[in-house]
């Protein structure tokens, strides 16, 4: 039975999650790069929205959510949205049209490869980016999505809890981002020349839109306009706030001044971290998860990255990979059946095995993402080359990849 309240909320949430990619992520990343690369960076977010929307309708949705094949992947039975219409699919969402569930999930499939772009910003060839994104979505995102959320997926069967995509979205993209940063190597001059963000107000607007869209991402994941959605909504805001505050206080203590970029980064880290837990934990637990998000992600971004000297340019791994893993494990500690009867209790609420189950889920996706992403990059590098020429990198990707530039120096 279709419920009009639920349907209205998920239509709205679908649009909110779309907003996270364009313009949210585009602005967030676009402000962080140098002025010669801002359009190329925004183009990556824009392009992924268009490309994966089509991929999802043609085959992605079927591979992710279609009838199970060996607990590993969905079959091609729903290719081209065959048989998917208004009638709800009770396994996934009994009260909204099946085609709406498909559209809502589409926006998750879109933003996930978009997050990776932060790792190879300012140096990847556009043609290579297009192929990488299409193949990554099909070979990494779709199977992982099936494992965790698809009916019959092996991690779902094990009881892994991932409310809105800490494992499916943030770990898969964050770990792949690290692989990309290592494989492509550093930007020319990284570590020797300053590479300051060229427009932080853009980044802050982007962070604000991400936060706003995240209400659709997390509260929408209850797939109904109900009390659980409200719990997820509150947890989302709580974690973003506590993570941003913690990040700024760490900076105040360590480097002397709290920064707006630190606050924005902390907020996004908090949002990524609360994602898997948002529909399973109490509001007070969400505050704790936000604090943990800032502590772990700050360590990854400000200490580990410098120590090992990899160029995860916009911290896709440090924020999403680390945040997603911390959140997925924290779900195994702090989940409560009192909040969501369909979930489970975590270690702190008398169910120790849940933490082990969460760890299995995290490790499986980490290993799978490393292996397939590495193979993909290797093949594409041999076939067409991943990086732009040195001279193109110096001139900037806006002009060399797209023949346009964001700003004029004279009128």
């Amino acid at each position: 039975m279709i419920n009009s309240g639920d349907t209205a909320w998920i239509l709205m949430s679908t649009a909110l999650v779309m907003l996270m990619t364009i313009p949210g992520l585009a602005l967030f990343y676009g402000g962080l790069v140098r002025r010669k690369n801002v359009l190329a960076t925004m183009m990556q977010s824009f392009f992924v929205l268009c490309l994966i929307s089509i991929q999802w309708m043609l085959c992605g949705y079927s591979l992710s959510f279609g009838p199970d094949r060996g607990h590993i992947i969905g079959s091609l039975a729903w290719i081209g949205l065959k048989g998917i219409g208004i009638t709800p699919n009770p396994v996934y969402s009994a009260t909204i049209p099946h085609i709406l569930f498909m559209a809502y999930q589409m926006m998750f499939a879109v933003i996930t490869p978009g997050l990776i772009t932060g790792a190879f910003a300012e140096r990847m060839k556009f043609s290579a980016y297009v192929l990488f994104t299409l193949l990554w979505a099909t070979l990494v995102y779709d199977p992982v999505c099936h494992w965790v959320w698809g009916d019959g997926g092996w991690l779902k069967n094990k009881g892994v809890l991932d409310f809105a995509g800490g494992i499916v979205v943030h770990i898969s993209s964050g770990i792949s981002a690290l692989v990309c940063a290592l494989f492509l190597g550093k930007r020319r001059g990284y570590g020797r020349e300053p590479m300051p963000p060229h427009n932080l107000p853009l980044t802050i607007i982007g962070a604000g839109l991400l936060w706003f869209g995240w209400f659709g991402f997390n509260a929408g994941s209850s797939l109904a306009a109900n009390g659980l959605a409200a719990y997820a909504f509150v947890a989302t805001n709580a974690a973003a706030s506590s993570a941003a505050l913690t990040w700024m206080f760490i900076e105040w203590k360590v480097t002397g001044k709290p920064t707006l970029l630190g606050g924005a980064t902390g907020a996004v880290a908090g949002l990524a971290t609360i994602t898997p837990a948002s529909g399973f934990v109490s509001p007070m637990s969400a505050i704790l998860i936000g604090i943990a998000a800032a502590l772990f992600c700050y360590t990854a971004v400000a200490i580990i990255k410098l120590k090992f000297s990899y160029d995860d340019s916009l911290d896709a791994f440090g924020v999403h990979g680390v945040g997603g893993a911390v959140g997925a494990l924290a779900t195994g500690l702090l989940a409560q059946k009192m909040i969501n009867p369909a979930g489970n209790n975590g270690l702190f609420f008398g169910n120790a095995p849940q933490f082990t189950i969460q760890s299995i889920g995290v490790l499986a996706v980490v290993f799978y993402a490393i292996i397939v992403t590495s193979a993909l990059l290797k093949v594409l590098d041999l076939a067409i080359g991943l990086r732009v020429e040195d001279e193109e990198e110096v001139i900037g990707l806006d002009i060399t990849q797209h023949e346009e530039s964001a700003y004029t120096l004279l009128d």
Binding site: K36, R188, G189, R192, E193, P194, V394, I395, I399, E403, E404, S405, L409, L410
Partner: protein, 113 residues
């Protein structure tokens, strides 16, 4: 007194500044400029319309020096900015008639250093 004006590739600025520091030439002005030489600029396309002859971004350095610093300045800039490719830039040296330090009212060679 001479005014040394150099037009260089933006990405070589860091190298030039480092070479100047080595020669103890610390006082300079840097600005963003547009220009083109034999490269004849670049092409950009907006909504299908080609805009040719767009000028390239360059960086302009201005350094006022006393006579004995002229050659060290030129060699430091050359060392830092040279890649051997077209577009490395140019150095202009012009006579400087006067120099006044606003804070103290000093003039000439004393005001430069």
């Amino acid at each position: 007194m001479k005014l040394v004006i150099a037009i260089i590739q933006p990405h070589k600025l860091e190298d030039v500044l480092r070479e100047l520091d080595k020669e103890e030439i610390y006082l300079k002005t840097v600005s963003n400029v547009l220009g083109c030489g034999r490269q004849k600029g670049i092409t950009q396309v907006y909504r299908g319309r080609k805009e040719t002859g767009n000028m390239l971004k360059k960086v302009r350095l201005e350094i006022a020096v006393n006579e004995k610093f002229v050659e060290p300045t030129i060699s430091a800039i050359t060392k830092g900015a040279k890649t051997g490719n077209i577009g490395d830039g140019k150095i202009f040296v012009v006579d400087l008639a006067q120099c006044v330090r606003i804070r103290t009212g000093e003039r000439g060679g004393e005001a430069i250093g």
